[in-house]
Symmetry: C2
Subunit: 467 residues, 2 copies
């Protein structure tokens, strides 16, 4: 028996049918040239036989029914791999649309707490001959960044490599040997929430001076926004069903826009794409507020770790939440882009010179409503401190293969929360920036339209900036 950290059990205790607490990943693969007609079913048979399962993928809550029992882990010695590793097929015509529909449904069901908290689905029937995998893991086991690293660790840059093992199996060069690897770079949106929970415990240990720094800094960030965060259709009670949309854009196009504005980052361009798309989406539904939307953007921040070493419990790296003005009130893409850049720079400055714990505590303030919103009925009295979470998780640069099958795309699925019905997570891979949009199926209708709006938004930026 292993006691869970408080932050792990939080994700189990807060889970309900409206708030499944798992992250997911959708991967697309091209079959190797020598693939036979039974390629997928043979792969499935091989996967189901890979019963050498790493410890992380054997753990389950000690007693799934009582709350107390969710505070300890136990190992499942009777692992039913046919339950966890599934084979599914797309109905005709087998377009990406049917794939996203299936993925939405798979992402909307709860994991079974009587078993290790993960599922893996191999998906056949894409009309272009590719196949897909959807993996799902409870956030109490892995956050989005770590899950991506586990997945990466199961792939190879060498198209000739064979006898590779699936992600739940231990491997020779294991780059994720820890149960919960610290993110090295990038920022998981969920890490923010985890840290918010941890901060509740850690802040109590801070002295009054440190608290004053945090308080002043928060006032500064809030003042920087200089307006009240509007309530939008995304800041509503959510249901358990999900809708997922995904698409990739060539990094060359994003870089083209970045080069047109000195000092801009790829992240700024990505945020500007999202801002333009959200504006178009809300106008179409006649739901655009007068005030601009505010995004919560988790960022990896370098910190002055020399300062107050006793407070540096998170190491020299920390995730800060930046509240970004998406400038959705302006029609002009160039003005909008400039305001987003400025807002991000101002947000980063607030964290300058702070210790990791101070950053965490400051980041916990805008995240607090999320934690509060998990209490049923609480939403009505909590104003949103942001409208939508947008995160950028760095992904692999080079093409990756699984036993010769080239991965052609990877799209993250995240967790909508009560009062936060839409989550946008992007990741880069092999020359593309790939967007994964996860929304509550009821609160965010026609989610897939955001993909068209993202393209239009990027094209608009390219045109306006001559990129």
């Amino acid at each position: 028996m292993a006691l869970m950290p408080v932050t792990d059990s939080l994700f189990l205790l807060a889970e309900s049918r409206e708030h499944p607490m798992h992250v997911g990943g959708l991967q697309l693969f091209e079959k190797p040239e020598d693939a036979g007609p039974d390629y997928i079913s043979e792969m499935h048979r091989t996967l189901v036989r890979t019963t050498d399962v790493r410890p992380l993928f054997r753990r389950r809550p000690m007693n799934p029914v009582s709350s107390i029992g969710q505070l300890a882990w136990t190992n499942d010695n009777d692992l039913d791999l046919e339950y966890h590793v599934r084979l599914s097929a797309l109905p005709t015509p087998g377009r990406v649309r049917e794939l996203l529909e299936l993925t939405s449904r798979l992402h909307g069901t709860l994991l079974d707490r009587h078993r290790p908290l993960w599922e893996f689905t191999l998906i056949e029937g894409l009309q272009d001959g590719r196949f897909a995998t959807y993996s799902k893991v409870h956030h109490s086991l892995l956050d989005g960044v770590s899950a991506l690293r586990v997945l990466q660790g199961s792939l190879s840059e060498d198209p000739a490599e064979r006898d590779m093992r699936p992600l739940w199996s231990p491997r020779v060069r294991d780059n994720v040997s820890n149960l919960r690897p610290e993110p090295e770079a990038g920022a998981s949106p969920l890490q923010g929430l985890r840290d918010a929970a941890r901060a509740v415990w850690d802040i109590a240990a801070l002295g009054p001076t440190a608290l004053k720094v945090i308080n002043d800094a928060f006032r500064e960030q809030a003042a920087g926004l200089a307006f009240k965060v509007p309530k939008t259709m995304f800041n509503a009670a959510i249901t358990g069903a999900r809708r997922f949309a995904a698409q990739g854009w060539p990094l060359e196009r994003i870089k083209g826009v970045r080069k047109a504005v000195s000092g801009a980052t790829l992240n700024d361009v990505m945020l500007a794409m999202c801002a333009g798309a959200l504006r178009r989406y809300l106008i179409e539904l006649d739901a655009l507020p007068d005030k601009p939307l505010v995004a919560a953007v988790p960022m990896s921040l370098r910190t002055d770790s020399a300062r107050g070493s006793s407070e540096s419990t998170l190491g020299g790296n920390a995730i800060g939440i930046i509240l970004c003005n998406l400038a959705t009130d302006t029609d002009d893409p160039v003005t909008r882009f400039a305001e987003i850049r400025e807002s991000m720079q101002r947000g980063k400055k607030v964290y300058h010179g702070m210790t990791p714990l101070q950053i965490t505590a400051l980041s916990a303030i805008p995240m607090a409503p999320l934690a509060i919103s998990m209490i049923p009925g609480a939403l009505r009295v909590t104003p949103p401190s942001f409208n939508v979470m947008i995160s950028n998780v760095p992904g692999p640069h080079n093409p990756l293969y699984f036993n010769g099958a080239r991965m052609s795309g990877i799209y993250p699925l995240s967790i909508p929360y009560e009062g936060q019905a839409l989550n946008i997570t992007v990741t880069s891979y092999a020359g593309n920036l790939q967007f994964g949009l996860t929304g509550c199926r009821r609160s965010v209708p026609h989610l897939q339209r955001l993909l068209t709006h993202l393209e239009d938004s990027l094209a608009e930026l390219e045109k306006a900036l001559g990129a």
Copy 2:
């Protein structure tokens, strides 16, 4: 707003992720001869466009999150039919095995309480060219018998009939206009549980004389068994995942066995098939108890409705639960069959001359542990009053069609409970007796083996009786 009857809300309040409270039906269809290549996707498009939805399929709990809100129904005026009506496909090779695997998964997930409590899945990809439908409805809306009648009402005996509407749509000759039609014949296992809950309220209104009749009758039925119900592997805590197996047998074979023993009923033969199969299954797993297994068998019983008219609140028909000795301790199929017959006759006699309310109250006694077992942790202290629920729901005699597609089979999916990990429900259709076995995926391993055992058990009876 419509207040729910207490018995409806019971099924909502008692639901948890371990106990999804929905019933289901799997139907197999043959495509009509003139079906084109897009037959299934066209059918799906037509179904999703059938937005004229009958009131029962528009209802949802008023407030899905709070317990109090589950006591009232509201109408969903914003029905998202694409959510409820799904298109799925089987992976290759598309055998019945893949169909049962998919059905098991679909039956194991919870319905979304933020929406009307039903789902309908059209399934393509069977290698023999047939297609399937799986429908799922919460037990607070319809019990198994009523659900079967709603389904039947959406089908036709005329293969030439077209422009037929799906089961969620109102129709001209509506034979299920009531929200909860009283079962006319046959017995739903869940009706028993519903009645058990109702009996808690009604028994309080009975006078002491009536209670004495019930008490004496129960002692008689329990005495008839003359042994303590053994604890088996089926009487364990259950998990949320399900495994479903289904198969049909020609009624001619069942009738052949019945004719060989004077006074036997088709139901007796069905029970003997189950008894032999359960014995073989438990022997294979080295888990056969010394004492014989006891089945709870819901039966439709004619009653003396003239007696105490004020007590006849259930009309002239009532469902009685009979505790049947399955005689799994004997190796001889003929002895086993005889003991089952005798046990059923003794069980029916106990109810003779009772009023419907008395029957209900008596039936509630063996069902009570089910109600108690819904309280977490209660199982450990409650001995089983039976080992497995076996019910026979009468189905349609003649072949039925949906817009020219002939239904070749219909298999019921029921609800395993805490301490009752296996449910067997059979129904007759067009010359076949069709078995649907629903089990907890963890507590009832290799459930599909029971199908082979059922065949072996029937063959054994045929051989022993020269049928």
